[in-house]
Symmetry: D2
Subunit: 285 residues, 4 copies
């Protein structure tokens, strides 16, 4: 494993951005490992992700912001920097369905997800044993119509206490409130929706798909915004279904893509591969 | 190639349907080549497709209806029978985009589509050369706001004159009227829509998909009903897109799935593989 | 869940098989739920799977063989019958890699695999905790060059003791001996090979794939025969790889298809959906 | 359409390559449009593709080599530069099967392939009409055991006369000789093989696949080397097959992936997206 930093930048497109960034890194004695960019012509936006080796960097990493800021101002950059060693701290929210939870925890244990998972929050006690198996604290906060605001305050307190910077809704069967989203930040909450959005928004998408007679069903991971199932899409996938498939078969087949589509989104987020613009994501791979 | 007949049946599910049908065929000395069925529990419906060899059938095929009707009445069957030698007669409608047209004509020429294509109807002269290359009469019937009804009357007259029993809208950029649909029959008109329905109904679906930031684009072939893009889905497929893909790239990538999804639908229809129920299709393969 | 029986038949193709079987079932008052068949023209073989409801069967199921045998003899059938309530008893073999094991146990727990798993056998102690989590006895039988024969005797004794009729090699990193295969039966042992067979037979297939520069990697589940990686293929799937993918990335991406491809094979086997002929499988779905 | 140049570089990996190249382009007043790179750790090789706008370049493009060479020497680069306006000149070789030919010509006509196709060479007269339809000269050069050397001399003469720099074997059913490959250059000849290489090398791969009982069939486009079907793979894809599929069905299903896999390879080649190393390709997209 390299000891690297990842620089994510978006700014108005103009000549010299790549040259300036790569020269900055080169002048300070670091080696670029990967370098991805995207120019969106419609919005005249330039987006880039640069990963470089920190071992030979000629100044202390703590000075990066100070040293890079002048250039960032020149180019009117929105930017952030992270070290590969700065692991995201992820709070997983789950209800009763455990397939996404199991999948995330298994991938985490096998080293596929380079993040910490300090806690799991659920509105049901059902997944305690699974959390125990993976050695992760499991907090049960029941949610009802009446206590929703209070429950979310408890959730936010726990998240803060555990210093989490990402919430993953792993088939959490409650709509998260506007307040929660505003407080924690839309760009820090990832949801999995069990349809190929924008088809079948809302509840029971497999039932909707069955009624409509589609030939493929899908799953979509996305950031959570104030409008239900309308946030920037991170990843989608589909699976073919057949006329013999009942709704239960759809639910079962869907589990396999939900898992994969959510875990990819979490992985890309914690590896700092995602940039947001215009209600869309750019994922650098 | 076998000289076969295909029997398509749907009826209320009850004991003895398979036995009765297969016994009928056996008693009359014919061999079943393929036998597919589907029982839809929700609607208590039984659907089946039986293909059997005609060479040894003990009576003349012209008597089939008379001989089979008593059993059909007993089981309250909706049914139809076709010989593999009874080729569908297909009218292709097209506007300017020629990728679906080219694909259908090429597959027809190579023997993939066991139907006749006696004519192509277009509201533009652009595809005359292609029609000529494949030796198929090409009729130009311009359509404007003002002459739509009259134009459709001309289309229907041509279709009747050429004894067509299937209309394929191969990127025909006009909405077909309710009258046309009622006259020719919803179950005899196949359209290709360039999105993964029910997402992105209506016009410019690739533009809609681009705006929404989806990660896969799709195409859907379906029977045409009175409600736009809402008919029974026959086939769907998707292709992955990337952040570098412009709308033009989507359009180009989409062409490849439109072609495949439409040609599959036409093939299954002319091979008598499709049964309709509850705004859905069952496709026996 | 229906209380059903599944009849699997292969025999020389001739007129009247479908009629005779369906009539037999109908005469004895049972309802056919699904009925799949395949006629292989090259070998003049007819294969069929019929699932019928047992609740109304007019005789006791224990008499099935006696009553069906005359017809079976007439048609020279190879056949077997199983009740959906007769659950397969599966012994899972595993070494250190646990992804297939985890996946099978999770699917089993969620009800996707209608079988019993009375034991896990491993040549390493590593997966004890996982077995404990799912409450399945875990037996460690170390295998070395010198003790292989003896180890296999112990394995076979355990399998017999637990009345297993299927062995699943879930990334079991030992070649199973000819004796073991002869004793337990080639058609009762399923393996997962981490390549798209017949490409990359033998060890380290991901390394072989990386060296060859393929653009997709695959996984294959198959029955185990005396020739390494040459048995009848049950299922295969592939995943796209990119030039940035290292061998470790291939291994990781491959895990996801290995799991899916193996679990499908096990599922189809325990649901009595697989018929073998000519070193091939027919899978009725 | 931008008036751009594409720079392709491979060299030993070391600090400063990205910075030096991007600085060179920036200093000469040009804007980088896309910038892709890959570092192969095993071989310590760095590969990059940079596309930049020529409109504002501060010197005449004809001086590029002279001006860039000093830096190229410093970094020990293998490199080449091409303008997007320098269209490849492609000779298509074909025998009787016309699906790849038709697909390439159709895509060329629709603007998907940014190259010129000055001629088609065939050992059979069958595809003359298709060539005529697209207005491309068609040369018939029969090939027999006895005249092979002479025939290839004629082919090479035609290719030279038409100034072609790429040969596409679009289901050309003759093995190209070592001499031909040496003369024209392995990296300038693309073939389509109708299997998922390295499975089913050689003749009749669909028959081989059918015999082996695989569940997916594939197609592979690759550069042609002295060893049959062993050259660097450019693209591969697969399609699922079912037990009802005969060899003829495999051949038909295979056509659809052959077309797509070959046309992608040709497209990427003529867009200067492919770099070769270690019998592999890197395709920058």
């Amino acid at each position: 494993m390299h000891n690297t930093a990842i620089l994510l930048v978006s700014c108005p497109d103009r000549r010299g951005i790549v040259a300036s960034i790569s020269d900055f890194i080169f002048r300070h004695n670091a080696n670029i490992l990967t370098n991805d960019e995207h120019a969106d012509e419609a919005s005249n936006l330039f987006l880039t992700r640069v990963e470089f080796d920190l071992d030979t960097l000629s100044f202390d990493f703590s000075e990066f912001t100070e040293r890079f800021s002048p250039m960032a101002r020149d180019f009117k950059m929105s930017w952030r920097i992270a070290r590969s060693s700065d692991r995201h701290r992820v709070a997983i929210f789950v209800s009763k369905y455990d397939h996404c939870l199991q999948d995330l925890l298994y991938r985490h244990k096998s080293g596929e997800l380079a993040c910490d998972i300090p806690l799991i929050i659920s509105n049901h006690p059902d997944n305690q044993r699974t959390a125990d198996f993976y050695g992760i604290p499991y907090f049960v906060i029941p949610v009802t119509k009446d206590n929703k605001q209070e429950a979310e305050q408890k959730q936010l307190a726990l998240i803060r206490e555990h210093k989490c910077n990402l919430v993953v809704l792993a088939r959490y069967m409650q709509v998260v409130s506007s307040d929660f989203i505003s407080t924690f930040g839309s760009e820090n909450i990832i949801n999995i929706h069990h349809s190929f959005l924008p088809a079948f928004v809302g509840s029971k998408p497999y039932h909707q798909a069955f009624q409509r007679g589609v030939k493929l069903i899908g799953a979509t991971s996305h950031y959570v915004t104030q409008v239900l199932d309308d946030g920037p899409i991170i990843e989608q996938d589909v699976v073919r279904i057949y006329h013999r498939d009942s709704i239960d078969d759809l639910i079962q087949k869907g589990r396999d893509i939900e898992k994969v589509v959510l875990s990819r989104a979490v992985r890309w987020h914690v590896e700092n591969r995602i940039l947001l613009y215009a209600n869309k994501t750019v994922v650098f791979q």
